[in-house]
């Protein structure tokens, strides 16, 4: 007599073979979690980045959520697949309690096996991930080999969570389903009633409208950021759900009704089975769309940040080093550089600081007096700056923080405008032609940076000399062309910078931001990889299960005189719908989401987003190809 335990062991041994993908999924999610936890607790990572704790904590929660969604979906698919087996146990007289016990033992053992493999695999690859991370951060660290007990403990917790959730799911499934629906699980469609014409049409349109509304919102999300972002997210999520649950179903239903029975083989193998599993398909397709959109947006944004670090830092700090009215220190710094044999370009820029008012053509009463820094274009050109000399009497405002201050909006009609200078009750006007989104002097230079010709500046100096806030400023700028020398120069500069709380040395700032965004891109990519593989696997599992269920249909079709190629045509059409529909909607969603989020970043997000979408699509299609390959095998076997 077999005990429950022995039977579970036996069935498991077969299931490991049969459900290798589920087992693989468990291993995969737990080992990635282990790697993640190892990184979080890695001494090297913890020492080197200060903001890491918050990033890692948020990402850790997201990781657990996706691992949860993934295992629950996979488990749901496998329970459905085994519904006959579960029914059979009950049919031969075993109680529901026994079946639940049996499934639980099997689940716990399967999970334990996966946990063990996961920790071993995770420990092996986590070093690799540390290396990738340090490389991304531009840090050089010693990668020691250590096994993180803390990470193993956390992974154990995740294992318990997964087992807990899947066990509840199994109990619900066994206790709630009757024998009849266990045996007829595949025969009946999950939604048999045809959609109600009017209600469906309304909801179908509502889904599209909500998505459209969300897209529209994405265009001006930076005004009242929080409520708008929530509204956009909400309407796109509900819209997507309606799109798959109602709009898609409604379209299929209309299409099929119009065909009036003359469906044809290809549609019989694509649209008909999709409609047969409408509810389950709609749920998973909506979930996959939203997860994919989230992943693409997340990685695109992180990559945009990382990608633009150099450019962004340059906007703020056009010169590697700058000294303001301190020629002694500037000289001693230069001597030190020369002593080290560092090649350096030194240029002097003579500027003038005054106070004045930049008028707002939209608001006559606006008369806010501010510091204005007049910089001569001829001097700047000598430093190698890329700019043109404006005509006499005309100024151009340079402000790297303009878009963050909301000042760059084309519709604001803020520019061109006039600058008013007052001297001894006498007013002089200068034309301010436009605003450019970068600095022409390092961020720490005082006043709003205005580019003028040298002649104009001299005229202003002459006029304004003697006013209370008038000041002549002598800037010493340094550029170190060689990157390695720049690093040494930066460390030499440190002692000239120590009275400042913030660093205005290009290289130090660059390194600081690079570390932060490097960590961001690493975590985003890590999460994205888990999301992508999870969603891909869910689709693959589902299609695998459907392929198994359709075996008999393929045998029947063979008898009706259809060959493998004819059947594959229908199957490929189905896979195109199943894979391409969520992907294309997700890409569309993410394009709008990136657009909405791009106010956070001054550089172009297009190219990084394009690269991310391309990579995502390629990996996603690998899953589609695997699925089609699996299907082809099933069809061939069924037909031989």
């Amino acid at each position: 007599m077999l005990t429950v335990f022995e039977l579970a062991l036996r069935s498991m041994r077969q299931n490991v073979k049969h459900y290798y993908l589920y087992f693989f999924a468990l291993i995969f999610s737990m080992s990635l979690y282990f790697v993640f936890a190892s990184l979080q607790h890695d001494q090297a990572v913890q020492n080197m980045t200060h903001t890491s704790v918050a990033f890692f904590q948020i990402a850790g929660v997201m990781l657990i959520v996706i691992v949860g969604i993934f295992t629950v979906s996979a488990n749901g698919i496998f329970l459905r697949r085994r519904s006959r087996e579960i029914g059979l146990y009950q049919l031969i007289g075993l109680s529901k309690g026994w079946v639940v016990r049996f499934l639980l033992i099997e689940n716990i053992l399967l999970g334990l096996g996966a946990l063990l493999v996961a920790i071993i695999c995770g420990a092996l690859v986590s070093r690799l991930f540390v290396l990738i991370l340090l490389n991304l951060l531009g840090l050089e660290g010693i990668v020691g080999i250590s096994f993180s007990v803390q990470a193993a403990f956390k992974t154990l917790m995740v294992y318990l969570l997964i087992i807990g959730v899947t066990s509840i799911q199994m109990m619900l499934m066994v206790y709630r389903s009757t024998l009849l629906n266990l045996f007829q699980a595949d025969k009946r469609p999950d939604l048999s009633a045809p959609p109600k014409a009017v209600a469906s049409a309304i909801f179908a349109l509502l889904g599209l409208t909500l998505i459209g509304y969300g897209y529209e919102l994405s265009g001006h999300i930076d005004k009242e950021l929080f409520p708008n972002a929530l509204l956009m997210l909400g309407s796109i999520i509900v819209g997507t759900y309606l799109l798959f649950h109602v709009t898609m179903r409604w379209c299929f239903y209309r299409f099929r009704k119009r065909k009036d029975g003359h469906l044809g083989l290809t549609n019989s193998l694509s649209i008909a089975p999709l409609m047969h599993h409408t509810k389950a398909n709609a749920n998973s397709l909506a979930l996959i769309t939203l997860l994919s959109a989230m992943t693409i947006t997340l990685i695109s944004m992180a990559y945009s940040f990382y990608y633009s670090v150099e450019q962004e830092t340059r906007r703020d700090l056009p010169y590697d080093f700058m000294f303001e009215n301190d020629q002694q220190e500037a000289l001693s710094f230069k001597m030190e550089l020369e002593k080290e044999g560092i090649d350096v370009n030194h240029h002097v820029v003579q500027a003038v600081l005054t106070t004045g008012i930049i008028l707002d053509p939209n608001d006559e009463s606006y008369r806010f007096e501010e510091s204005l820094l007049w910089l001569p274009a001829e001097h700047l050109k000598q430093t190698g700056a890329d700019l043109n000399v404006p005509p006499d009497g005309v100024a151009i405002l340079y402000n790297a923080g303009a878009s963050l201050a909301g000042d760059l909006d084309e519709h604001s009609k803020r520019y061109p405008t006039e600058i008013v200078l007052e001297q001894h009750g006498q007013t002089v006007m200068y034309t301010l032609r436009t605003l450019r989104e970068r600095n022409i002097m390092n961020l720490n230079a005082p006043g709003s940076q205005l580019l003028v010709s040298e002649a104009t500046m001299d005229k202003i100096a002459e006029q304004m000399a003697g006013t209370p806030d008038y000041k002549k400023i002598h800037f010493d700028t340094y550029q170190v062309p060689d990157k390695e020398e720049l690093a040494i120069a930066s460390s030499l500069y440190e002692k000239y910078d120590n009275d400042e709380p913030l660093k205005y040395d290009y290289y130090a700032q660059y390194k600081k931001v690079l570390e932060l965004t490097g960590l961001l891109i690493f975590i985003a990519a890590f999460l994205g990889l888990v999301f992508l593989i999870s969603t891909g696997s869910i689709l693959y599992f589902k299609q695998m299960t459907e392929a198994e269920q359709e075996k008999q249909s393929f045998k029947t079709l063979r008898q009706l005189g259809f060959d493998v190629d004819m059947i594959m045509k229908g199957i490929i059409r189905k896979q195109i719908i199943v894979f391409l529909l969520p992907l294309s909607i997700a890409i569309l969603h993410s394009i709008f989401a990136i657009k909405a989020a791009s106010f956070m970043i001054r550089s172009d997000t297009m190219l990084p987003a394009f690269i991310v979408i391309a990579i995502y699509t390629v990996i996603y299609f690998v899953f589609a190809l695997f699925t089609i390959g699996y299907y082809r095998n099933i069809v061939k076997k069924a037909m031989s």
């Binding site: 009946r188 009036d260 029975g261 044809g264 008909a272 063979r558 008898q559 005189g561 259809f562």
Partner: protein, 261 residues
């Protein structure tokens, strides 16, 4: 109705052998069978379990290959056809009805029936009229938009029959078509098959273990141990008389239990 050449040969099987397994463990299922089926015949194949009825049907119906011997359908040697050609051949010339219906659960009755002609170049109007004809004969017109899980076993089998007939095949093969039906549904299906056979001149080859079912046939072939044991022609006999004759042969053959009349 097309002009029928009654007496013309539709299917000709010569010296068919079928062996399963490898040399040491070979199982000789069919041991040299000769069979000729003429246009609009309704042939029943009977025999005890393991006599090779279903194997014979599969071989005749191009689903399985012979080990030796030839099968000609409409003068085409099916053992010489490639896989692709066989598919086309099945699609154009053959119809099938099985014990467990083999309908596609995801398709409606009408979609199931129209499936075999989905790749043909038939116009939609012609397909529609053909479907209407057959659905009326089979009395399933009202079920057109129902799914298999919504209809009874007898209705499913009539749907399967509709699918087997829609493309006007040269020959319809039926493997225990009444096997899963209650006696009322079984006799209504057999009535329909008889009607189709007589009115439309459709040639039918049916494997059954049920003497009631085979009493609808115009000829019954008895198999025993992979060989033809005997043949009975119905001629002008009543169905009841033919049934009694079949029972007599079966009593001699033995092996299979008999479900009464």
């Amino acid at each position: 109705m097309d002009q029928l050449n009654v007496g013309e040969t539709v299917l000709q099987a010569r010296n068919i052998h079928k062996t399963y397994g490898t040399k040491g463990n070979a199982q000789h299922v069919l041991k040299g069978i000769d069979l000729r089926v003429t246009r609009s015949e309704f042939v029943g194949i009977m025999g005890p379990s393991g006599s090779g009825k279903t194997t014979l049907l599969n071989v005749l119906a191009t689903i399985d290959h012979t080990t030796d011997g030839t099968v000609l359908i409409d003068d085409a040697d099916i053992s010489k056809l490639s896989n692709t050609a066989l598919s086309t051949f099945r699609r154009n010339k053959l119809g099938f009805i099985f014990q467990d219906y083999n309908l596609l659960d995801t398709l409606t009755v009408k979609e199931n029936i129209l499936l075999p002609i989905s790749l043909s170049k038939m116009s939609k109007r012609k397909a529609e009229s053909q479907f209407t004809d057959i659905a009326n004969v089979l009395d399933i017109k009202a079920l057109s938009h129902k799914y298999p899980h919504e209809i009874s076993g007898g209705q499913k089998q009539r749907t399967a029959a509709g699918r087997a007939l829609i493309h006007q095949p040269s020959i319809v093969f039926a493997d225990e078509p009444t096997g899963a039906l209650d006696s009322k549904s079984a006799s209504s299906l057999l009535d329909v098959m008889e009607k189709v056979n007589q009115q439309r001149g459709v040639t039918v080859v049916m494997v059954t273990h049920d003497p009631v079912a085979s009493s609808y046939c115009s000829r019954v072939v008895f198999l025993k141990d992979g060989k033809i044991y005997s043949e009975l022609y119905r001629g002008d006999k009543t169905r009841h008389a033919f049934f009694n004759e079949i029972m007599d042969v079966q009593a001699v053959l033995g092996g299979d239990h008999v479900d009464g009349f």
